[in-house]
Each structure stands twice: as structure tokens, then as C-alpha cells.
């Protein structure tokens, strides 16, 4: 089943990371008959291994290698060593994700043109648009079994949703539903089991109802015989020849031994911190600032979405933890309407945390009765998450921290982030709306909760028409090195208001198609 490729086989495509981007590009290439070696820093964890327990699951799946932070964002104070909540496992962060799967709105592909100049923002139009992406989105929705697309029914609303929906309607919101979710909503779709409403979507779905690269995409790719996944393989450096083409990668295997795998093409998909870190850690005399960095944009324009949460306490039980974690959305505020005092828009989505995570995230650092009296009513709480477009800023960036090394002695990523005034104005608007929604249903107390460690990490190797403005072209191919591709969320030119994964997957399917065509045309 698993195809073993030789370390010296220089005909293979090497994919680094097996999350939303890497997992899909690897399996799509394998389906087309191309030999692929996927190197994944994490181990393999399947549905039977997942744990219905927040901290235990976090210990099992989360990326806990050191990272550092700086900047004025509150995460740097509350969670200084944990800028992101992302996964180290075969399947990457799609093991943890909630499954909200939305297409960008048409204007969001052209943020610079639509919004005009925004001071301090490094806005740029994507070199692709909604019409170009439409067929790829359809393929992605079919792959992920996205509800409310392709005749798939929506999920039923749980308690948390029913409170949210009632408040939304009271405020006059129209676009309210259980959303488009990569969660199987009936038993006959792709032979996947339908959602059993267990309520641990963030801990890995033990029923396999929620799509994950780890237990859907990767095994399907392996079944072709063309994909070999090497778990617990941490890539340290990408190698190149004198012609400036990449030739392979060095990685530490499960035993900590340094190995070298040759490659015809390398696709980097380590998430928006590790991908630029790897390019920078691969610096050489030919590329002193790191690979693919002639523009100086590697690591820059880091985006994390404008986020925050609102929790409401009611006089009666809600039991929000029962059922799907995020199947509920209000889209009325996603439009671009500068009369609200900011450009771009945001989505409101239901969100539930269990008691252990609620204690950690409701008001990080908070204590005393103001804090505990909120948790006393945990059973009567409802919750929502805010996700909106944030502004790319050149100074929000991932750099190498040479003072802190990981267990292999490699400099770690430092993540610097300052909120843009547009992000702050949008967050305040969203807090007000979110609190009003719960107050309309009789909330006795509401909490505008600050952002958690980032779950959406975007933009540090951005896509641009011109080589001087970004790192990759419209295929995710680096402007500087023809056989080096970026396949993850770090390609994002701008973030849009929508959760990013459907777009990452659609771009990965499209990229695999392009690579296969270019390989058979002998261009790569």
C-alpha cells in the first residue's frame, strides 16, 4: 500500500507537511500517478486515537516546539510561548479544525482595489479571482462533503445554535444558518459516517464525520501506491544546486538521525510559521536571506484574522458543549461597508469550549469572583466566535530567533504582531453586535473575550502578480525558484473574512493539477 521511495530517487515530489495544503497536494499528485514523498514532523493519529478531553488531546496533537512572540497583541502577553494553536500530526491542523468551509466573496480577491489605500496596510490584489477559483472550490466542497453545497443537507442546529439564531433574528439578521461545514450530514456521502453530535470537533472527530487530511485525504493518496508518508520527519533545510534549483531536503527522522531525500520538486506546506522559517533556515551563499526571498517578503504580512469571542450567560441552561462545535453562522456583517468605520467584514460563528478550556481562555489572567462567577454559570452559557479580515502589515512578520533553538539546534520562529486600527475598529463593532445578540435572548451578562492563540495563520509567503511584491505566483510557485512551491495558507495575499481552509484546499487541488501538467510538458 505505502510506496517506499529511495532517498536518492530524484524523480519524486517532496511535500513538507501534511495539513490542509500539504495533505491535499500530496494525495492529488499521487492520484495523478506522480511519485510523492510527504515528510511530516508529527506522528500519525487516527480517529480511534483521538481523546474526548481538551487538555489531553492538546497534549496529543498540538505543536509544542518552542516559538517566541513580540508585538502589542494580547497573545504575546497571555500566551507568550504559544502564538498559535495548531497541530503537529499527519493531517496537520485539519485534525483540530471545526470544519467551517466558506468561499471568499468576489470582492475579497481584490482587496487593494476594493478598499483603496489603507494607511499602514500592505494591501494587494490576488493574481486570481472568483471566476478562476469557482471550479476548484466545487472540487474542494465535494472532497470535504461540505454541507449546503452540492445538494448536501445542512446540519441540525444544537442548543448553542438555537440561542444564537434566536438572537440573530431578533436583531434583524437574515443570513443565519448552521453553515457550510466539512462534516457529513447524512450517511450516504462518500461512505463517511454522519455527525453524531459528540461535541469534540476540536479534539479530532472520533467518528470520522468531520473531514481531515489525516484520515481521509492521506490514506486515499497512499492507496494509489504513489504516496509515501514519513511521519515524525522534521525538515531542517531545503537544498539547491548551483543553477539555483532545489534538489532535495535534509530532515531529522523519527530517531533524530539526519537524512537527505532528493527531489525533482519541493512543495512547502508547514503552516504560516514553519514555512517561512524553513525558507529562512535554508539560507545559503547564493540566497543569503533565505530561499525565494528576493522580494524580502518571506515571513512578512503575517495575518491571523481579526478574532475574538462573545459569551453570554442566561438564567437557564444552554449546555452549549453538546453537538457540533461551530455549526452556526451569521453572514450579514461579512460585506464590505465602510460606513461601519472599517474596511472588509466579519462572520459570527457559534463556538463552544469545554470547562477546562473556558477557564483558560474566557479572560486569560483573570481571577477573583468576577471571573469565577462567570464559570459558575458555565452550564447556562452560549458562545460565538468572531472571524474577520485583518490588514496585512509588512512589520507583522515571522523572523528567525537566533537566541532560541529547537531540539535540533535550529533557530525558532518569532512571531511579531501589532493590531491594525482597522482590526480594532472591526473587533469593537463585532463585540457590540455579539453582545446585543445574546442580550436580545435575555442574557444576564456577556463577555467580550480577547483572541486566543492564532488558529488561522496566513500570508507569510504571499501570492503576487509581480515578483517584487510577494513570494509566489498565481500557482503557488516561488517567483525565484521554478521547482519550489508553497502549498499552504502562507500563500494568502489577503485573508478575507472567511475561515481559510476551503480556499487552502481549493488552491492545493489547483496547484497539483498545474504541477502535473508542467511535469508532463517537461517544464519542471
Amino acid at each position: 500500500m505505502t510506496a517506499p521511495f529511495d532517498l536518492n530517487d530524484d524523480s519524486v515530489v517532496v511535500v513538507i507537511g501534511t495539513g490542509a495544503g500539504g495533505g491535499v497536494v500530496a494525495s492529488e499528485l499521487a492520484r495523478k500517478g506522480i511519485s510523492v514523498v510527504a515528510l511530516e514532523a508529527g506522528a500519525r493519529h487516527l480517529p480511534e486515537d483521538f481523546i474526548n478531553d481538551e487538555w489531553e488531546s492538546f497534549g496529543q496533537l498540538a505543536w509544542l516546539d518552542p516559538r517566541t512572540t513580540s508585538g502589542d497583541w494580547r497573545v504575546a502577553k497571555d500566551f507568550s510561548g504559544l502564538p498559535a494553536w495548531i497541530v503537529k500530526s499527519v493531517g496537520g491542523t485539519t485534525q483540530h479544525w471545526a470544519g467551517a468551509s466558506l468561499r471568499f466573496q468576489e470582492h475579497e480577491w481584490k482587496a487593494a482595489t476594493t478598499y483603496g489605500p489603507v494607511q499602514g496596510a500592505n494591501l494587494l490584489d490576488w493574481p486570481i479571482d472568483a471566476a478562476e477559483m469557482d471550479p476548484w472550490y466545487t472540487l474542494a466542497e465535494d472532497k470535504l462533503n461540505v454541507t449546503r453545497t452540492g445538494n448536501r443537507p445542512g446540519l441540525p442546529g444544537n442548543n448553542n445554535y438555537l440561542v444564537f439564531e434566536k438572537g440573530a433574528k431578533a436583531l434583524g439578521y437574515k443570513e443565519v444558518s448552521t453553515g457550510r461545514m466539512a462534516i457529513t450530514s447524512r450517511n450516504d456521502d462518500n461512505a463517511r459516517l454522519m455527525c453524531q453530535q459528540t461535541g469534540f470537533c476540536f479534539q479530532g472527530c472520533k467518528w470520522g464525520a468531520k473531514w481531515s487530511a489525516g484520515y481521509h485525504e492521506i490514506p486515499e493518496g497512499e492507496a494509489t501506491g504513489n504516496l509515501e508518508v514519513r511521519p515524525q520527519s522534521h525538515v531542517a533545510r531545503i537544498l539547491h544546486n548551483e543553477a539555483g534549483k532545489v534538489t532535495g531536503v535534509e530532515y531529522y527522522d523519527a530517531n533524530g538521525t539526519l537524512q537527505m531525500q532528493k527531489a525533482r520538486i519541493v512543495c512547502v506546506a508547514g503552516n504560516s510559521f514553519e514555512s517561512p522559517r524553513l525558507l529562512m533556515n535554508s539560507a545559503s551563499s547564493m540566497f543569503p536571506d533565505g530561499l525565494a526571498n528576493s522580494s524580502g517578503q518571506v515571513g512578512r504580512n503575517y495575518m491571523r484574522h481579526m478574532t475574538g469571542s462573545v459569551y453570554g450567560v442566561f438564567d437557564k441552561p444552554v449546555k452549549m458543549w453538546r453537538g457540533t462545535t461551530m455549526a452556526g453562522i451569521i453572514q450579514d456583517e461579512a460585506r464590505h461597508d465602510p460606513s461601519r468605520g472599517f474596511v472588509g467584514g466579519y462572520e459570527l460563528e457559534t463556538l463552544s469550549l469545554g470547562l477546562p478550556f473556558m477557564a483558560a481562555f474566557l479572560d486569560p489572567g483573570g481571577w477573583g469572583r468576577e471571573f469565577t462567577s462567570a464559570l459558575d454559570h458555565y452550564e447556562n452559557m452560549a458562545g460565538m466566535w468572531i472571524v474577520g479580515e485583518d490588514m496585512p502589515q509588512e512589520t507583522n512578520r515571522v523572523t528567525l530567533n537566533h537566541d532560541v533553538k529547537d531540539k535540533y539546534g535550529l533557530p525558532v520562529a518569532n512571531v511579531h504582531f501589532d493590531d491594525h486600527p482597522n482590526d480594532i475598529a472591526m473587533r469593537n463593532h463585532a463585540y457590540k453586535q455579539g453582545q446585543a445578540i445574546y442580550e436580545a435572548v435575555g442574557a444576564t451578562r456577556t463577555f467580550p473575550t480577547p483572541p486566543y492563540p492564532s488558529t488561522h495563520n496566513l500570508g507569510t509567503n504571499r501570492m503576487s502578480e509581480n515578483a517584487r511584491d510577494g513570494v509566489v505566483n498565481k500557482w503557488g510557485q516561488t517567483h525565484d525558484i521554478a521547482n519550489l512551491f508553497i502549498s499552504d495558507g502562507s500563500q494568502f495575499t489577503t485573508g478575507a473574512a472567511e475561515n481559510p481552509t476551503l480556499t487552502i484546499v481549493a488552491l492545493a487541488i489547483r496547484q497539483a493539477d498545474h504541477i502535473a501538467r508542467e511535469m508532463s510538458a517537461q517544464n519542471l
Binding site: 474526548n52 442546529g157 438555537l162 441552561p317 449546555k319 453537538g323 483558560a360 471571573f371 458555565y378
Partner: protein, 174 residues
């Protein structure tokens, strides 16, 4: 005279009796800490019992839940009763007592009103000691499975087939 001195020399049984009579929330003996009704007891091995008792009170004052019994706070902090942690904790509690004395109380434990104890804690909120204790409690207290039902949280649900037939949409007051 400290509470500890007043208790020295009594048997554990005497102590428990005496404490129930006084309505104390827990009893400090030589090297141990117990509930007045003897429902639970914890023997401190590396920390002085009064230090440990002060730590437990501090934990409750940081995250006060009146419906959560002392034994859960004891479990939440008993990890500090170790060879590695004892010296740091002893110094931290000594500083806490000094702060209490600075405000005119005999000790932190002898400060009767929660309001006054919280004042003392506010004054040392930024100290590494306070942050160590507070940070540890976030998981030490709230990640105890035995505590979850007190808050209504149901925990693991896979083994019971999820909530698809067990009330995922049973809200009835909307």
C-alpha cells in the same frame, strides 16, 4: 500565637473534633491538613502544614467557587508539596504573610474577610509567585474530572454515542 502552635500536641482525632465545633473550613495539624468532618485529609510531606493550609486558602481566594469543596483545591495545589517546589512555595507564602501583617493582620490565614485577603493578593498580583499559583490552578483546578459535574459539564461523550439521541438540541426555554 499562630494557629499551628495552638494545635501542637493534640491528636489528630482531638483536632478534628475541635475543628468541627469551631466550624473551621479545614484543620491544620502537625504535617497534615484535614476537613473538619474528616471527610478527607492530606499529609504534607515537604511543606510545613500551615504553609500548605495557607496555599489552599490562597487557591480558593484566587478562584473562589463556593460550591466546590476544599478537597479539590487541595488536589489542585498538592503538586507543590514536593522536594523541588517546597522552598519557593515557603518563601512565597512567607511573603504573603508579611503582606498580611503589613495590613495589620496576624497572618494571611488569620485574615477573616475574603475582601481583605483579595486586597493582599492584589498587592502581589504581578509577582512570579502569584502568577505561578494562579497559572497552575487553571489546569490544576478546572481540569479535575471530579470537578466538572459541579459545573454541569458532562465531559467525554463518544462512549455514549454522542448527543445525537441525548439532547443536543433539547433547549426548551427559548
Amino acid at each position: 500565637m499562630s494557629q499551628k502552635e495552638s494545635l501542637r500536641g493534640l491528636t489528630r482525632r482531638d483536632l478534628l473534633k475541635r475543628a468541627s465545633a469551631a466550624g473551621a473550613s479545614f484543620v491544620v495539624g502537625t504535617g497534615f491538613l484535614a476537613a473538619p468532618d474528616a471527610a478527607w485529609a492530606y499529609e504534607a510531606t515537604h511543606l510545613d502544614a500551615e504553609t500548605f493550609a495557607t496555599l489552599v486558602q490562597m487557591a480558593r481566594d484566587i478562584y473562589p467557587h463556593d460550591q466546590v469543596a476544599d478537597e479539590y483545591y487541595v488536589i489542585a495545589v498538592k503538586g507543590y508539596d514536593s522536594a523541588d517546589a517546597a522552598a519557593g512555595i515557603t518563601a512565597g507564602i512567607a511573603a504573603l504573610n508579611a503582606a498580611a501583617q503589613g495590613k495589620g493582620f496576624d497572618s494571611y490565614l488569620a485574615t477573616g474577610w475574603e475582601r481583605d485577603r483579595v486586597d493582599i493578593l492584589r498587592g502581589m498580583e504581578d509577582s512570579a509567585f502569584f502568577q505561578q499559583i494562579r497559572g497552575g490552578l487553571v489546569t490544576g483546578l478546572y481540569n479535575q474530572k471530579a470537578v466538572w459535574p459541579i459545573f454541569g459539564y458532562e465531559g467525554e461523550s463518544f462512549s455514549q454515542g454522542g448527543y445525537i439521541d441525548r439532547g443536543f438540541n433539547d433547549i426548551n426555554w427559548l
